[in-house]
Symmetry: C2
Subunit: 487 residues, 2 copies
């Protein structure tokens, strides 16, 4: 991890100058050489603004090439990039900005209203960055030390307070390399990027791009017809998706087929339902299911397309450089999933409490429950800390509960995931009220003010008291079971 | 470099159990699962013999699957592998065995006569290893720490004493990964291995095999017709060659063509002559020229096939994780070639003197002279320390001179490389004698007793005195020039 390599964008621009790094829907391409020039120019501009090595700079942006350019620019300065989820409320963003000691926020101009509600000394829109002076006096990084931090991405947790996962350059490097060893690597590859770039799954595509010398087809917003057209007409060979996208792509595809050059879909965010995999097989669409989390810099376990139907429900085998084991197995072989490897985070930013409990002798304690079959395939049976995965976004019940508990008339609340055909799961809230005046609408309106839309409960269920076990812990499984019988 | 990954063979056997790791000319395949089993069994046997972690074990073998199995076995024990060149004389072997503190020599049975002439306490033929007890009590390595030493391969130098280049697991890992980023990586890949496995270029193919999960087609001895048949009939996609092999393969190929699935030839050991590259182009054979040395764990600079004819004489651009620069440039841009990267050795074994002069601020001083053109392509103009590269083998003039100087009637001697259509270069010796009784045959016979065959001068040129400059240094360039006029 102390390895030093040349700056990957500079080196790739040197090796593959004229190869497109980013292709866009409007037909405009950015070559690696141009990407380097624009990133370095932006680095000089940000430096002129006063940002130095070691500074934490947050980015709030939708999928846009300037986001990628800004990320590379910050790496040229040795600054750490804090990637913000654009769906968060101002209060949620404020927490992450404060927690990560952000000294500058760079944002896409469409988020100006959100930014106005934030308390932060320095903020610049992409347009403002563009107008900054260029000071070429500062020395840009010519090398990357793999042990240096590169990005911080927040992930929620049991406590309700999000934690900033630190990724070193090495974490991202190993993730990209291990993925290439798994999927192979061809000069003809072109990866379609439509997942949000502020998530590690989206970001990783752009880092693969500079490490592999591979073009990325950048899509701002998911639209099944447009993505399918891009796959069919733009020589896209791989795409990263979550289940809901896979479903919509297959529905939209209809009787059409993808070209033979299309290598498949890398699927994150939980195993896909069998019916969807059958549908994919019928349409000859290879699907690579995977298991991973922000802490593992994206996928760490992958199911090959050829095993997809033989191992329904499995996430596959660990990548070459990763290890996997089940800790504290019960008689049925289920226990906590432990993972290890050079793509695993070194810890959370500025969070000794969480870090103290993150590793067990070098193994990351994922908190997820699972088992490994006789052939070594992983099955995730329950997500960590009652995690709900909704359309690829992580939703932690406790975070929602903490918000709803602030409503004066609510005595107690428990949030669980309800199965949903479109999103996989959606959060719903069981509420015990002090007063009958409180309506579902009131509660949901309140939630909308404090929570990102995907975290807002889709249903409020009033209940006289929450089921608790002998040690007074809420029995969420019972609440989930009640949900299923009610539907 | 402190990264820890699962043992690569164990992990590959887990991921790709039934994929062939080694395919042989006799039609027998060894799968990754079998390779693991046989390597682990051999590890238990070698452990039973008393070899422990940290021991240095030498291998003297021609290209044979048992050589590969033994190398993996030693890695399971955490022992360091010293790879011996089978063409060396007993005295040359003895030097390396002593210098490397070898505690056990494992050899192919065909070398029994050579081994009998060595002074070494412990030696075992492959057959003897096979008959050893299996003691499964010992704990085999489950993980690889990339900073640990794995192999030692000797390379000669100016002083005439060979130096043991240490390769860590990380050096080999980065070499394999950087090569994949350069050449791409396909599940259909199959690499033909015919270079000697005791050289880093041959060894690297087998390490790529376990890291990529790729079959290797193992060829014991080079024969153009048989290698061509393998490429044409056995789905070989890549082959590593030296110039003389490339020439013979193209000659043998005649009007036939390789299949479209054949991706090309990775060419080491100096740039190829233009006429050969033209011939390759005409026969649609992609050639990837490269520059590297034992100290860089094989290639570190590669010329893509598409640039081969545009950049005649160039070795190309550095691999993604490597850096290249010219030190102390003269006005024509020529200077010493410096390289840097995680595939570069940490130093020579037990050789403080050589190590003290090996690096300059983290850059490896190759000793070779070269320049870089405006597009960043490297041209090697002169090899380090008058190095002669003959059929891919390094030959150091000083080493030969030291041997010939031992002949009583020789007053002084200077060895230079003569261009050779078959071998690229061959060594010839200029000799100043005390007596006229000494014949060319006498000298060559003497050389044969003390030097590997490829180091024996192909011609002895008697001369009255050696040309020396003002500081009394032999002017080898003048000797080379004399050679050209004489031919």
């Amino acid at each position: 991890m102390n390895d030093i390599i040349p700056h990957w964008l500079t080196q790739q621009a040197f090796i593959s100058s004229h190869v497109p790094a980013i292709e866009m829907e409007n037909g405009i391409n950015i070559t690696f050489s141009e990407l380097q020039q624009r990133s370095q120019q932006t680095a000089y501009q940000i430096a002129a603004y006063g940002i130095q090595e070691g500074a934490h700079v947050a980015i709030l942006s939708k999928n846009d090439p300037r986001m990628i350019i800004t990320i590379h620019a910050l790496s040229y300065l040795g600054a750490t990039v804090v990637l913000l989820n654009t769906r968060l409320t101002p209060a949620e963003l404020q927490y992450q900005i404060d927690d990560a000691n952000v000294s500058l926020l760079i944002y896409h101009d469409v988020f100006i209203d959100k930014v106005k509600q934030l308390q932060i000394e320095n903020s610049l829109s992409f347009d403002e960055v563009k107008r900054l002076n260029i000071e070429t006096g500062v020395a840009l990084k010519e090398e990357i030390r793999l042990s240096d931090p590169f990005t911080i991405i927040y992930t929620s947790g049991t406590t309700g307070f999000p934690k900033g996962v630190i990724h070193t350059y090495g974490n991202h490097w190993w993730s990209a390399i291990s993925s290439a060893l798994n999927l192979g690597l061809s000069k003809a590859d072109k990866w379609l990027a439509v997942l949000p770039f502020f998530h590690v799954g989206g970001l990783s595509i752009f880092l693969k791009s500079v490490i592999y010398g591979m073009p990325v087809y950048l899509v701002e917003k998911f639209n099944a017809a447009m993505v399918n057209e891009a796959i069919r007409e733009k020589q896209v060979t791989i795409i990263s998706v979550v289940t809901v996208m896979l479903q919509r792509l297959l529905d939209d595809l209809g009787v059409k087929r993808y070209p033979d050059t299309f290598r498949g879909m890398l699927l994150g965010g939980g195993p896909a339902p069998e019916v969807l995999l059958e549908q994919a097989k019928e349409k000859q669409v290879p699907v690579f299911q995977s298991y991973g989390m922000t802490e593992t810099s994206s996928q760490i376990v992958t199911l090959s397309a050829k095993d997809a139907l033989r191992k329904i429900g499995s996430s596959g085998k660990p990548l070459l450089s990763a290890q996997l084991k089940i800790h504290n197995k019960t008689t049925d072989g289920v226990g906590e999933i432990y993972v290890k490897g050079p793509m695993v985070t070194t810890g959370y930013y500025n969070n000794d409490t969480a870090n103290a409990n993150l590793f067990d002798k070098g193994w990351l304690k994922t908190g997820d429950l699972g088992h490994i079959d006789s052939e070594g395939f992983l099955y995730v049976v329950d997500r960590r800390n009652d995690l709900i995965i909704s359309g690829g976004e992580n939703v932690y019940p406790t975070e929602i509960e903490h918000v709803l508990e602030q409503i004066p008339d609510i005595r107690e609340v428990a949030v669980v995931g309800r199965k949903d055909d479109t999103w996989g799961e959606v959060p719903v809230a069981y509420v015990v009220c002090e007063s009958e005046a409180l309506t579902e609408k009131c509660i949901i309106d309140y939630a909308h003010k404090h929570l990102a839309p995907y975290k807002v409960p889709k249903q409020i269920l009033f209940i006289n008291q929450l089921p608790r076990n002998a040690s007074n812990k809420i029995m969420r499984h019972q609440l989930k079971a009640m949900l299923h019988t009610k539907r």
